[in-house]
């Protein structure tokens, strides 16, 4: 199967503190990977390095066959800026805090990058945006501004904004952590639909049942290392490591 992401030996330290010690995983095209783990385990940092919001210290990363960085003498060496940009366009990221542009309407939030980055025409961009908003069930909100929307609606706009650029792989960084249970369900439903369409995704989440249900593979991280990984039924149903058991048990009360 074609690999979408091939990450090996990723290391990252902030101010001398090792946040990621040796992270490796591969993600085949069309698969969904969920990453679980306690706060500070390095889940978000891993996503932020793959989506180029942070730089790796060491390791190798290939996205859709293109090398973003590779390890040379114990240091991550990045490709040139133009290649970085091209690879960046293959990835999309959905944030915990949405990060919509408050001064743009919902529609413009989704069309802006299509026009400015992909040079699509206004008509094409708007058509794409409306199709995505319809899919998200919020087409009637197109003319409104982010502050007029509920958190769940804002997060759906931000998913549409990411999808509008046709990324090959989409990352979710705790997409429901800022939402109440009802709104969380709205978002999980959207992600589940994307999984059914065989969108390649990596989801960092604390929604255990959801992660188990949608993923093809699951990783448990703790203190900057991958403690355990496996198919979700095994990882969630029959964890082998004590730390994994503790963590998963903490959600079952």
């Amino acid at each position: 199967m074609e690999e979408m992401i091939k990450l090996t030996g990723l290391k990252k330290a902030f101010g001398g503190v090792e946040i990621l010690k040796n992270i490796s995983f591969t993600l085949p095209k069309g698969n969904v990977l969920s990453i679980i783990g306690p706060s500070g385990s390095g889940k978000s940092t891993t996503l932020r390095i793959i989506t180029q919001l942070e730089k790796a210290d060491d390791g190798n990363l290939e996205i859709a066959g293109h090398t973003l960085f590779s390890s040379v003498d114990g240091k991550a060496v990045y490709c040139n800026p133009e290649e970085e940009r091209q690879i960046g366009l293959k990835t999309g990221l959905v944030f915990q805090s949405f990060n919509l542009f408050p001064h743009f309407s919902v529609l413009r939030n989704i069309t802006e990058a299509q026009k400015a980055v992909l040079h699509r025409s206004r008509e094409e961009a708007e058509e794409k945006a409306m199709a995505l908003l319809t899919k998200m069930g919020i087409a009637e909100k197109a003319k409104q501004y982010p502050y007029q929307l509920s958190g769940g609606q804002q997060q759906r706009v931000s998913i549409a904004r990411a999808l509008a650029l046709d990324p090959e792989v989409l990352f979710f960084d705790e997409p429901t952590s800022a939402l109440d249970p009802e709104l969380t369900r709205e978002i999980l439903k959207v992600i589940r639909e994307l999984a059914e369409e065989k969108m390649t995704m990596v989801v960092v989440t604390h929604e255990m049942h959801f992660a188990r249900a949608i993923s093809d593979w699951a990783i448990f991280m703790n203190k900057g290392v991958i403690v355990e990984e496996g198919n979700p039924d095994r990882l969630f149903g029959n964890p082998q490591e004590e730390r994994t058991r503790q963590f998963i048990a903490s959600f079952q009360d």
Binding site: S97, A116, V117
Partner: protein, 211 residues
């Protein structure tokens, strides 16, 4: 009386020239100063910080005198007093504007930059289309205050002999043994600032479409 009013209108034109020229140069320059104040390059940051401290820590009237007379004492060359006046106002106001910009820039959530980066916007595009519009909305009230102060500060230009509104009023006042011209000047300043503050209200309303 008519002669007096037309003289004062002429003075007002000079005041307005100082006002607009100062804004045209210091509004953009303030951004450059703010960027310098926020740079990671320490020596640049220290120099810019010192400049801001000096501009805010000494009277504008003194700065006007310094800018006008310093070239004479250092190089023995004198120059046009109006030019000196504009230079002094611009370097002073750039310092004040830069601090307002800095407060605005630092109030923007990091997530706005991160979302822009992930979507592939260039740094320049992010600044002009995503960050700057939000900064302007947030700093408008503080900017309004500063611009109103500028209208009144133009009266200081008389220190180095620029014939702006207040100087014209004072000259007329001593010629006619009457304080009336001074009061008329007061009305002029009030009208100018009334217009300025209404303009800011309009701009704030215009940007009120989002939160």
């Amino acid at each position: 009386m008519q002669g007096l009013i037309s003289q004062m209108l002429e003075g007002t034109v000079t005041s307005l020239e100082i006002f607009f020229l100062t804004l045209i140069f210091s509004l953009p320059l303030g951004f450059v100063v703010a960027k310098g104040r926020m740079t990671r390059i320490a020596p640049i940051r220290w120099i810019v910080d010192l400049y801001i401290q000096v501009m805010r820590g000494t009277p504008l009237i003194l700065q006007l005198i310094f800018v006008y007379f310093a070239p004479f004492y250092i190089f023995g060359a004198s120059y046009d007093r109006f030019t000196a006046c504009i230079i002094a106002f611009v370097i002073n106001y750039s310092a004040y504007f830069s601090e307002i910009y800095r407060s605005g820039l630092q109030s923007i959530d990091r997530g706005q930059y991160e979302a822009s980066k992930v979507l592939g916007f260039t740094k320049a595009y992010t600044f002009f289309h995503i960050i700057l519009p939000q900064v302007i909305k947030r700093i408008l009230p503080a900017l309004g205050n500063e611009v109103i102060t500028l209208v009144k500060d133009t009266a200081l230009a008389q220190t180095i002999g620029v014939a702006e509104l207040f100087r014209v009023a004072q000259t007329a006042s001593s010629r006619e043994f009457s304080t009336l011209p001074i009061f008329i000047a007061g009305v002029f300043y009030f009208i100018m600032n009334y217009i300025v503050s209404r303009l800011f209200v309009v701009m704030e309303k215009k940007l009120n479409y989002y939160r």
